[in-house]
């Protein structure tokens, strides 16, 4: 078990993330030093955790519990530079071979600052020199105790600022643009969740562990089929496998005797259920007030859909189904459904204030699970969902659909 001390760099000195505990409470909180004093940034942390607005539940969930209590050794002020340390701390806790630790017991000490956006890019922050200066004594102590010490900052100017901050020799500086680079270096890549599949939109530059998992599963299925094929068709299996070469299908066997024809069942789609939401816009789409939102939904199996709109002000609306939809039907596999559409989505989404990050999330299920959903999720209203329901949508769908559930999200920014 690798023991890792994760520190959030602040201008008041490094703050240790002491522990992270999943809690059944509706909101995540950051508490000061294992006390019941709740830090003011708890609301931001809650947003960072929640599915829809945040990335912790998306990347590490699903969890039976709705929220986390994070204990920090000292105050963390406003801003979002804590996000890199907090995300990494969650990774440490989720990884089976690592655990959060005090610096005394740690093998590795991480000193981190940086914002983490919805696509897991690490964004620059302010006050690098002050934060580094406030940590000089701790850096010296950790090195004296023979700890491996990493200072992790966003690449670019923040990196340059840190290089000119005269850190003690022995501190390894790790500049990074993306979370994956950090976790790879620290060997903290987590196993993707098995039960709740969250797909990534096929956007350039967007990291896709979940997508990687889908690809890996698909590859495994192909490999499995090839192996099956191999055992029954030795002559073909002996041929060298060249990905760019078309593998000839075995010729149909023509029986010379009058035997009843064997009816072959259509080949079953063995892929896991998946859904993709995407738009014609580039990576990190930005819309302005008055723009009409358009996107496309595709599924790989015939499925029922439920879509929700997580607005910048925290409210959540059910986009589909809703009272304006005449007939709720099962969507066909491998068809690109464009939203809006006269057929199934007969209204336009016109973007309006407030500005901010917004998300559309769609849930696909092969069975119609509407009877198992609470009334507010049955598409009978266009108003905001009750907050208790809105905060718990992923868990509710997971409970109702079990493993046969796929989710994808389409995130965008709304500006004036």
């Amino acid at each position: 078990m690798k023991r890792i001390a994760v520190y959030v760099a602040t201008t008041g000195g490094p703050v240790l993330i002491q522990r992270i505990t999943p809690e059944y409470a509706p909101q995540s909180m950051i508490c000061l030093g294992r006390s019941s004093e709740v830090l003011p940034i708890s609301g931001d942390y809650d947003d960072f955790v929640k599915l829809g607005s945040g990335i912790i539940m998306r990347e590490f969930g699903p969890f039976e519990e709705n929220a986390f209590r994070l204990d920090a050794s000292g105050p963390i002020g406003t801003g979002r530079s804590w996000q890199l340390g907090v995300f990494t701390a969650h990774s440490v806790e989720q990884n089976e071979s690592s655990a959060l630790s005090t610096p005394d017991e740690a093998d590795v000490v991480l000193w981190m600052t940086g914002m983490v956006d919805y696509d897991l890019h690490i964004k620059p922050v302010d006050h690098i020199a002050e934060k580094a200066n406030a940590a000089q004594a701790e850096f010296a102590r950790w090195l004296k105790d023979n700890k491996r010490v990493y200072a992790v900052v966003p690449k670019g100017n923040n990196h340059k600022e840190l290089l000119s901050s005269h850190l003690p020799d022995g501190v390894q500086i790790l500049p990074a643009n993306r979370i994956k680079e950090v976790l790879n270096t620290l060997n903290l890549i987590n196993t993707p969740p098995e039960t709740l599949q969250i797909n990534e939109s096929p956007k350039p530059g967007r990291p896709g562990w979940a997508l990687f998992a889908v690809v890996a599963v698909a590859f495994a299925v192909i490999l499995f089929n090839l192996q099956d094929f191999e055992s029954d068709n030795t002559s073909i299996a002996q041929a060298p496998l060249n990905i760019n070469t078309e593998i000839p299908l075995p010729a149909p066997t023509i029986s010379t005797e009058e035997e009843p024809l064997e009816i072959l069942e259509p080949e079953k789609n063995t892929e896991e259920l998946s859904i993709e939401l995407y738009s014609k816009h580039d990576d990190e789409p930005v819309f302005n007030f008055g723009d009409h939102l358009e996107f496309t939904i595709e599924i790989n199996r015939d499925s029922w859909l439920n879509c929700f709109y997580f607005q910048a002000d925290g409210t959540v609306l059910q986009l589909y189904p809703n009272p304006y939809v005449d007939e709720v039907f099962r969507f066909e596999a491998n068809v690109a459904y464009h939203v809006p559409s006269e057929d199934f989505f007969p209204f336009k989404i016109r973007l309006a204030p407030p500005a901010g990050e917004e998300v559309i999330a769609c849930f696909a299920t092969e069975e119609d699970i509407t009877p198992h959903l609470p009334d507010p999720l049955k598409g009978e209203t266009t108003g905001p969902l009750p907050p208790v329901i809105a905060a718990d949508i992923a868990r509710i769908f997971h409970s109702a659909a079990g493993d046969n559930l796929a989710i994808d999200e389409f995130a965008f920014t709304v500006e004036p």
Binding site: R19, A25, R34, S36, V38, E65, G314, P387, A391
Partner: protein, 178 residues
Amino acid sequence: MITYMLTSQDIEKVQEEFQALVSADNLLQADGHFVSPSRLQAYAQGQLDGDTTDIENALNANPDLRAAHRTMIRNTALFILPEAMAAASPNELPERKGRGCKLSFKPSRAEENLLYLIVELLDFTDSKPETLVVSGTDDRIYQISLPPSRNGIIQVIVEKNSDIVRLLSDPKSEAYLR
């Protein structure tokens, strides 16, 4: 000069009014300290700054004043959470539902001696409660400040053995949000 002759009905009415004034005086005085109705009303609404020891002493000493104070709180509360429903099990704390809001507890996994006190506001667009006030059967009041609601949810960490939890555990107590 004009003189008026009071009818017996008028005299009866004057007596009633006089009696009411005497009752109000008695109500608002305890241990020789007078609490003006406007101060008591402001205190009940949480709008009184400065030293309120005199009011607290008066409330402690005078059950009638406590009852009046409770009525003031009740009449000005944003939400009223009346008597609690029976808990699902003896170890659970009872849940309370009022019009437009719900109060419940969740145990903390991180700290066994702590609870999450959760207030869910179903109509959260206009009302912004800042204080949870709980009144026991003896009309004694306990209160805690609340953080701003987020998406209609107010979440506070409280100690299991705190007065507020003890009082909310009593199904006959009444809670108010103001």
